[in-house]
Each structure stands twice: as C-alpha cells, then as structure tokens.
Amino acid sequence: MAKLAKISLSSKEGDEFRKQLSKVLDYIGELKEVDTSDQEPTSQTTGLENVFRIDEIKTSGCLSQQETLSGTDKTRNGYFVVDAVLENKDL
C-alpha cells in the first residue's frame, strides 16, 4: 500500500501502522452488518449537477509564469525541473 501511495515507511513504522490500522479496520468492519441492497450511494450532498459558467478568460484568476514557479527553486528556463521518469536516457 505504501508503495502504491508513494510514501516510504521504516520497518518500525510499518509494524506500528499495521497494528493501529488493523484496529481501525476491525472497527469499521461493523458496517458489514448493514443491509445495503437496493441503496443508492451518496458521493456528494449539494444536489448540484453540471455547474456551468460562461467560457471566457478571467485573467484575475490566472497566475503569471513567475508566480507559478515561485514555489520551488528547481526551475530551468521557465520550467519546473522534475526527476527523470525514463531509465534509458538514449531513447
């Protein structure tokens, strides 16, 4: 799970979390006793559907390139620098 979520855990953390989360899973297991057949799920409570706005550019809501890059020191030529994702550089 930690790998899937891209977080690193030490073996001590892993053991501790396993114990703590097992307790939580045991607790939320109580939901198994509820009959949910024929029940629609709720993912949001607003009742809103398809909220539209006029398709026009509002520059007040846009960040400049400089502002966008202001959160990191790792920039080059006005771009973010990211780790390489391809292993073979020659490809």
């Binding site: 607790y27 939901l31 799920p41 966008t68």
Partner: protein, 470 residues
C-alpha cells in the same frame, strides 16, 4: 488597553475614538508575544500585513467616519486564519513540514472577502497537520494548549484558531470542519463555532482534506458575531463549483415557534457526566423558553464514524497525492505519521477488491444516514446534540491510540456526511473550569434558524463572552 470581546464593542470603541485600529493591533500583538509561547496557537504572526491593514482602516475611519462601518461591515475586526487558508505572500503550512516554506501566490476566497470587509489579519494559526486530528496534537509545529488549562487539549483540528479566541489573541478566527474540526475546538474553548452547510461558503484556496465533507467556517464569541462573519463570507465565487447562494426565502424563513429534536440514540450508551448535565440543562432552558421538544432517532448515525473513516481517508489519499514536492513544498518523506496512516487507509479502501466492501458500502450507508435526517427534519426544525463525548481531555491521553482519538468525532460526523449546518454553542464550565457546550443542527441552508436559536439561548442565560486569564 482592555480589548473588547465582540465586534459591536470593538467598532463602538473605534467610532468613539477610544483607540485607533493600530492601537488595537498593538494590543493583540502584545498579547500574542507575551503569552503565545505557552499556548502555541500561532504558526506565523503577520505583523507587517496587520499594521498595513490597520493603517488603511484608520484612514477610512478618519475620512468617512461612521459611514466607513457601513461600507466595510467588519472594519477593524482582527482575524487569524487556520494555516490551511492560502494567504498571498504569507507562509501557509497546513500544519505540515511538507509546506514549511510555502508562500502562496494567491489568497483563499474567504481570506479575500474578510479583507474586503475591513478585517485585519494577525496571522496563521496552528492546526493538526492537513487538519488530521481532533486534539491539535498532530501538528508538525507542536501541540496547541488549551488556554483555560494548559494541561488539556484545545480540541482539533482547528486548535490554534480556537485557542486564539480563548486567549484573546484575535476577535474572530477561521477554521475548517470536515468532521468536527471547528465544533470540537470551539466547544473546548468557550467559543461559538459554525460549520456551515456544505456548499454555503467557498473553499477556494483552502488546502483540501476530504472534498465531499470539507467546509469552511469560523470562531467568534457571540451569535451576532458569527452571523455577521457568515453573512460576509457566504455565497458563490465562481471558483468552488459546489458553492451556491442561499435562497432569500431560506435565509428569511425563521419560524417564531420552533421544535427541537432530542436524539435519544446519542444518549443511549451513557454520556460523560459533564456532557450529560450540560445537555439536560440546555434542553431545560429551551423548554422554559416555550420551545417544543420532540424525541427523535437517527438509527444509522451510530455508523457515522465508521462511514467517515472510510470516505475521509479515501478522499485524503487522493487529495494528498498532489504533494509531490515538484511545483512547491518538500518531498513526500516529510509527511507525518497521521497523514501516512490516512493515506495508507484510503489507498486500501479504494484498492480493487476492497472498493465494494469498504468505499461503496460506506457511500450507501451515507445515503441511509441522510434519509434518517430528512425524516427527522420533517418533524423538527433543529436537532440538539453534544459536540464531543467528553469535556476537554489531557494532552497525550489519546495520541498513541488513533481509534480512540477518532471516536472523539462521534457526534460530529453526522453533519458532515449529510452536508447540514451545525453551530457549536458555549454553555457552562466543568468542575475543573473547562468549557462545555452543545451543538444545534438544522436542515441544509438553515443557518439563520441556528443563529436565532443561539441568540434566544444567549438572552435566556444572560450569556457574556469570556476569555481565559493567562
């Protein structure tokens, strides 16, 4: 100077030139620098911004006199924002080391609306990292202490915002409530805490925790103050698509004769003695005011915490996936224990093979909880309930037992899962001089009904705002 405790008194003093806005800021910052090292309610104090805004306010008062207060309804009102609210040019950490040096290039809608209304920003308040917690102890910047007794927690996750109200460090503060994160600390700090209807207040520019549950709200010391702050900040901004305006009839439709529902199932398992007595005293006061009391039942709400601890971590694992350390912030190694736990739990309940058993099932029971509530609101206008199962608890008491900590939110979860508004009302103190109170919950967009009931209760009890002696 003696700092006034309400918006009305603060503005009266400004109108009568008893003090200037700059002198008010001096007094608040003086309190913070003298006493906050023991409370730890602020992560960042923004004195430069505060003085600039105060000077602007004083200029407006000088130029326009009393009329300035009509154009700027919160002129001279000091505010401190939970450090989840983006503030342009002022560091915003979300209580996490991941954002330790993050300076946002824009402000949250609520921050902007309060500034436009004349508020003075004093700084950013401490909170559980990413708002994950019920006690304030999960902050990467150290736990906040309860100003009423520093051995106790102030409640969380909006711990610093609540403590700042109790310690007289600010006139109002902002918070977020995903499962009691405003109401529990308000209850533990002798403050009003409003969790508005889901969709009543824009969340644009507020660090997201669980998007189908997150709401933005406030702490203040009177029902009038919390009403005025809500009026200024509610409504569509075109940036949060879940946000909609309250219909005029919903706002104005406050009945003169009301019925309050008492939740028999919330009391079934036996409440803490302090909480039980507060509830029965409060109910009696409403009864003496001629309000009809009706026993009601929400049978599926007993599952609310379990449903919450599936839906919330699921949404947390998704929302926190954006913190990749590339565009801003530090790397994912900087997440604290609680964030890691929730990311793991959320990833688990969403993973294929477990999705139906956990996430889908939780969403279906969420529907049942909402159906229960709809039935109850056919019979009553408002429900009264405890905010938390106990009075404030001692620092450290629950930190090693996440499940026990999660159960602090047992009375809070129903309002978030169903999107209804809830108002925490301060009422009385325990034998240990710790604050107590209760919450009022109403149907969606019934905020004004909650405010009017709170006001009635204030009058009936001759309520006076109080702050802790430090």
């Amino acid at each position: 100077m003696n700092i006034p405790l309400t918006i009305k008194d603060t503005q009266e003093g400004l109108k009568k030139k008893k003090y200037s806005t700059v002198e008010l800021v001096d007094a608040y910052l003086g309190n913070i620098s003298k006493s906050d090292k023991d409370i730890n309610s602020f992560i960042t104090v923004s004195d430069e911004v505060a003085y600039a805004q105060a000077k602007k306010a004083d200029r407006l008062i000088l130029d326009y006199g009393d009329k300035a207060f009509e154009d700027y309804p919160l002129l001279g009102v000091t505010v401190a924002h939970k450090d989840l609210f983006l503030t342009k040019g002022v560091r915003t950490t979300a209580g996490s080391k991941v954002l330790e040096s993050y300076i946002p290039p824009y402000s949250a809608t609520v921050v902007e609306k309060l500034e436009t209304a004349g508020c003075i920003m004093l700084g950013k308040t401490n909170c559980d990292a990413w708002a994950h917690g019920s006690s304030g102890e999960n902050s990467d910047y150290g736990a906040t202490k309860n100003p009423w007794n520093k051995k106790y927690v102030p409640g969380g996750s909006s711990s610093g915002s609540a403590a700042a109200i109790a310690a007289n460090f600010s006139l109002i503060t902002t918070g977020t409530d995903t499962c009691g994160s405003i109401r529990v600390p308000a209850n533990y700090s002798y403050s009003y805490g409003l969790k508005p209807t889901y969709g009543a207040v824009s969340r644009y520019g507020v660090v997201a925790m669980a998007s189908s549950l997150d709401t933005v709200g406030y702490f203040a010391r009177t029902s009038d103050d919390v009403t005025n702050v809500f009026k200024v900040t509610k409504g569509e901004d075109g940036k949060d698509a879940t946000c909609k305006n309250i219909k005029k009839e919903d706002w104005e439709n406050v009945k003169s004769r009301m019925r309050i529902g008492i939740l028999s199932d919330f009391f079934k398992d036996g409440l803490d003695k302090n909480v039980e007595k507060t509830m029965s005293d409060a109910i009696k006061i409403f009864k003496d005011e001629g309000i009809e009391l009706v026993d009601v039942s929400l049978p599926y709400s007993k599952y609310a915490v379990s449903v919450y601890y599936i839906i919330q971590p699921a949404e947390v694992s998704s929302n926190l996936s954006r913190y990749d350390g590339i565009r801003y912030g530090a790397s994912r190694d900087s997440f604290g224990d609680e964030a890691k736990r929730r990311i793991m739990l959320g990833t688990y309940v969403l993973s294929s093979g477990y999705y139906d058993a956990y996430y889908l099932r939780a969403m279906k029971i969420r529907s049942k909880i909402i159906e229960d509530l709809n039935k109850v609101f056919d019979k009553v206008d408002v429900i009264i309930a405890p905010v938390a199962p106990t009075a404030p608890f001692i620092l450290g008491e629950k930190v090693d037992n996440p499940l026990k900590m999660y159960l602090t939110d047992i009375f809070a979860a129903t309002a978030n899962l169903s999107g209804i508004p809830a108002l925490a009302v301060p009422f009385g103190f325990s034998k240990e001089c710790l604050p107590l109170g209760f919450q009022l919950m109403g149907p969606r967009f019934s905020e004004n009904t909650l405010f009017s009931l709170a006001k009635l209760f204030e009058k009936a009890t001759n309520y006076k705002p109080k702050v802790a002696k430090l």
